[in-house]
């Protein structure tokens, strides 16, 4: 499968779990990249876009909210689809994310199989 995924989370444990889910969903290993915060993610995407971003909110340097706001200002990244994978549960903040184009939301603690299913759903809808 050619889907390019970017996993954005400051937790190496979460990134490893998400990587496993993404590979089991059918992505090729060479198409899966990781970033530790929103700034790193934006820099990577501007060098080489991804099809899907799995995005944590609570991160240092640039959090997930700021990433989504910044991404919305970059037309080159308009086709990059975002799923939040986060502890965040505040309704107003999540509504704002939806208004900025975030497509899916999976709240931590999640079952790893749920993350795999979410990624499969995003692949199938492409």
């Amino acid at each position: 499968m050619n889907y390019r995924i970017l996993i954005v989370d400051d937790s190496p444990l979460l990134r490893a779990t998400a990587r496993r889910a993404v590979l089991q969903a059918g992505a090729a290993p060479e198409n899966v990249r990781e970033a530790q915060n929103g700034r790193e993610a934006l820099d990577l995407l501007q060098k080489q876009p991804a099809d899907v971003v799995l995005l944590d909110i609570n991160m240092p340097v640039m959090d997930g909210f700021q990433f989504v706001e910044e991404k919305a200002k970059l037309p080159a990244l308009a086709g990059v689809r975002v799923a939040l994978v986060t502890t965040e549960g505040n309704r107003k903040r999540l509504e704002r994310m939806t208004q900025l184009g975030v497509e899916h939301y999976l709240r931590k603690p999640f079952e790893p199989e749920e993350l795999r299913s979410l990624v499969q759903t995003m692949f199938e809808a492409r």
């Binding site: 496993r20 089991q24 079952e111 790893p112 199989e113 795999r116 299913s117």
Partner: protein, 180 residues
């Protein structure tokens, strides 16, 4: 060891496992209370397997030489998959279904074997990298599970219902812990 059931099926007993081909008709296991039945079917090779495990994993003191691998999820599930691959099945074609994991014993507080068996099932499948197509687990009554090796259909029977859990053409979705 699993037994032949007439000429039309292989009965898988408690803490047991069998792999069979289309000509053997069906695989069936009874009395899935807190135990879990895990079926796997390769629709191209027409090979199927059924495991009936009782407990999550062996204790630390267990002797590997005398260990009954199919009694436990942690050893039985890899066993089932290995036997299927040896018989010619292909792992990423396998359709897996699970049934059982109920809480049967009233007053067995603190044991919750059914729940532990359901959790270990998820854990081992995640580790091996395969996913369930369907499951009928949890609740409080016993189930019978059968895999039709010709049609690939998985059927669940309880004292209250008798229906298809999965059939070819059904979308791979996993309803979680359906109450009977």
């Amino acid at each position: 060891m699993a037994d032949l059931c007439g000429s039309n099926g292989v009965v898988v007993g408690v803490a047991d496992m069998a792999v069979a081909r289309e000509s053997q008709g069906q695989l069936i296991t009874y009395a899935l209370g807190s135990c879990i039945g895990l079926s796997a079917f390769d629709p191209i090779a027409r090979i199927g397997g059924l495991l009936h495990y009782m407990l999550p994993q062996p204790g630390e003191q267990a002797d590997p030489k005398t260990l009954k691998a199919n009694m436990y999820a942690s050893t039985g599930i890899p066993n089932l998959l290995r036997r299927l691959l040896e018989a010619g099945a292909v792992q990423n074609r396998l359709v897996l279904c699970a049934a059982g994991g109920a809480e049967i014993l009233e007053g067995a507080a603190g044991m919750a074997i059914g729940k532990r068996n359901r959790t270990i099932l998820r854990k081992v499948l995640w580790k091996v990298g395969v996913q369930l197509a369907a499951e009928d687990t949890g609740g409080s009554i016993a189930r019978t599970m059968s895999l039709d090796l010709g049609k690939g259909e998985v059927r669940i029977r309880t004292r209250e219902k008798d229906g298809l859990l999965w059939a070819p053409g059904m979308r791979v979705t996993v309803p979680r812990n359906i109450e009977p």
